[in-house]
Assembly symmetry: C2
Homo-oligomer: 323 residues x 2
DNA sequence: TTGTAGGCGTTATCAG
DNA sequence: CTGATAACGCCTACAA
């Protein structure tokens, strides 16, 4: 049923029906109410494509993410997406989601150049992510990048684990700890440096253990430090799994947590709230990242290519009982 | 740039350009190649809405989920969505995602009655989920329901934790265990009954402990059973957190896992692979649920309202070292 | 194989 | 406040 047939059936012109649904206002209250009522009865609704075609605008945002995520678990993507989607939902904006793989370039073009969407959020990390961004740019569709993409700092939202590590360091120094330690992968420079920054003067005493990222690695890190005669009174672990392993080993060794040893993890995985004692941890605010990405879409771009600078999302220090 | 301007600029008619992008075949190879090349150069792409309007079909699926999920963590929704999205992606179909809240009904109508989508996946559990389904039905848009919705069994995909519990029971009876136990919430009837079914004759010996759902609850369940003189040699816990708590308590008590006590959890949360010994568990195949929901969309509906029956997704028994 | 013309279902403009 | 009419950009008979 289209507007013509519907309008004829209820005895008004198509234009009047259109006005009843629109927000122009040039319609009497009574007519509108009658039309809306009849529309409900007949199940009439204006055709989505015809409307967007004539208006030449649309209200749908696309969210593109790399199909295979090597470095981050899908959980990260999901949470970021949920944040973006909840922000979009508040703005009554549906989100079109699509994973990027080698076959996606046609779809990207169809959507972006074809005028199907009003904005694009791209999670960096694949060749096609760059393609999506450059497509958006060349057809002047607003876009936002999650993660690092060369040359796109002005429209990016970045994780900032270094900041979270800094908060942990500051917490240790602020609660009178004297001999801190850092346990994690050697490659994770941002966290390490942030931790030292937060530690302040205490950073000179800081011990390090660079191992793996599993539960067992956490336990063996404790043993390794112990065998070296290092007895830290506070430790930041690069993830919660390491922290739980470390804590278990320490408890087995008769150490009291948090009295003799404060432990902070990273990521806030679900089990962390249930350890004994419950694990304090640094939570990456993934939802906030998604929300920020969405809000970047409607933000003004700097004039003349002016750089607004990357939007860095701060972590949150979740203090439970282990520190 | 529209088809008219583009076609004029490269010296062919609009119809020819249209044929170059379409699959009708009525175009010479050379012309098509030249057109595609120029399109690349000019960044031309047919307008999405005009195309869908004239064809009066579209290839986009909507995924509606309840905004606030009380009983299940968002993780469930995310995983189901990822499954649906990956199936859709293989079919080159973008997915429009939107959380359902009280303001969503207008959007639902716009999308479904307005012809914006070719199928709807609805996660049951809110008033608007029912509304979305009835809208889809009355405008004959294919739909699929995830979870239980009254009267919609024919087009639903259901979780089946009972089946997973059955697998656990069968595993225990098949590996020579003699005194099984079940630890979990009293309300979780499906799991309990499935477990007993899988246990077979052994089910007469089965002990029960109905407590909470946390780590501590798992530990205290062990103590409670012990104080009653019950020493199970195999236990199924209603979730992994309980199982980890139970296992910790048992190990502290000097029990050897899995030799003297086999433990199976439920859900396969991330930390389960890192416990010591790694936890065996029943994994709800959430991705599969999403995939099945998508494939239901293109499946034929039974003629004359014939019921195809709910699609039940089986769980997977992940055997690690604890059982 | 290519071009011409009509129509898809709306909304915006212009009279009345 | 309402109705007729011209776009919006494309696809598809039909004609050439």
């Amino acid at each position: 049923m289209n507007i013509k047939e519907f309008s004829k059936r209820i005895g008004v012109s198509a234009a009047t029906v259109s006005r009843a649904f629109g927000s122009s206002g040039r319609i009497s209250r009574g007519t509108r109410e009658r039309i809306m009522l009849e529309a409900e009865r007949f199940g009439y609704r204006g055709n989505y494509h015809a409307r967007n075609l004539i208006r030449s605008r649309v209200r749908t945002v696309a969210f593109f993410y790399p199909e295979i995520v090597r470095r981050a678990p899908d959980h990260f993507i999901s949470e970021i997406f949920l944040g973006a989607n909840s922000a979009a939902s508040s703005a009554q904006t549906p989100v079109l989601v699509h994973p990027l793989n080698d076959d996606s370039s046609e779809l990207i073009k169809d959507l972006i150049f074809g005028g199907a969407i009003s904005g694009v959020i791209v999670v960096a990390g694949s060749r096609l992510a760059n393609f999506a961004v450059s497509s958006a740019k060349s057809s002047s569709v607003p876009y936002a990048v999650v993660g690092r993409m060369k040359g796109e700092e002005a429209r990016s939202v970045l994780f900032d684990p270094g900041h979270g590590a800094m908060l942990a360091g500051r917490h240790f120094s602020g609660t009178g700890r004297r001999s801190p330690a850092y346990v994690g992968g050697i490659s994770d420079r941002g966290k390490r440096e942030g931790f030292l920054r937060g530690l302040g003067a205490l950073s000179e005493n800081c011990a390090f253990d660079f191992g793996g990222t599993s539960f067992e690695d956490g336990a063996s890190a404790f043993l390794r430090l112990k065998s070296l005669g290092v007895r830290p009174d506070s430790v930041l672990c690069a993830n919660d799994t390491i922290a739980i392993g470390f804590m278990n080993a320490a408890l087995s060794d008769g150490i009291s947590v948090p009295r003799d040893l404060a432990i902070i993890g990273f990521d806030d995985i679900s089990v962390s709230a249930y350890t004994n004692p419950p694990l304090s941890t640094v939570r990456l605010n993934l939802r906030e990242i998604g929300r920020k990405a969405f809000s970047l879409l409607s933000g003004r771009t700097g004039e003349q290519g002016e750089v607004a600078g990357p939007e860095k999302i701060e972590c949150e220090l979740v203090l439970r009982a282990s520190a």
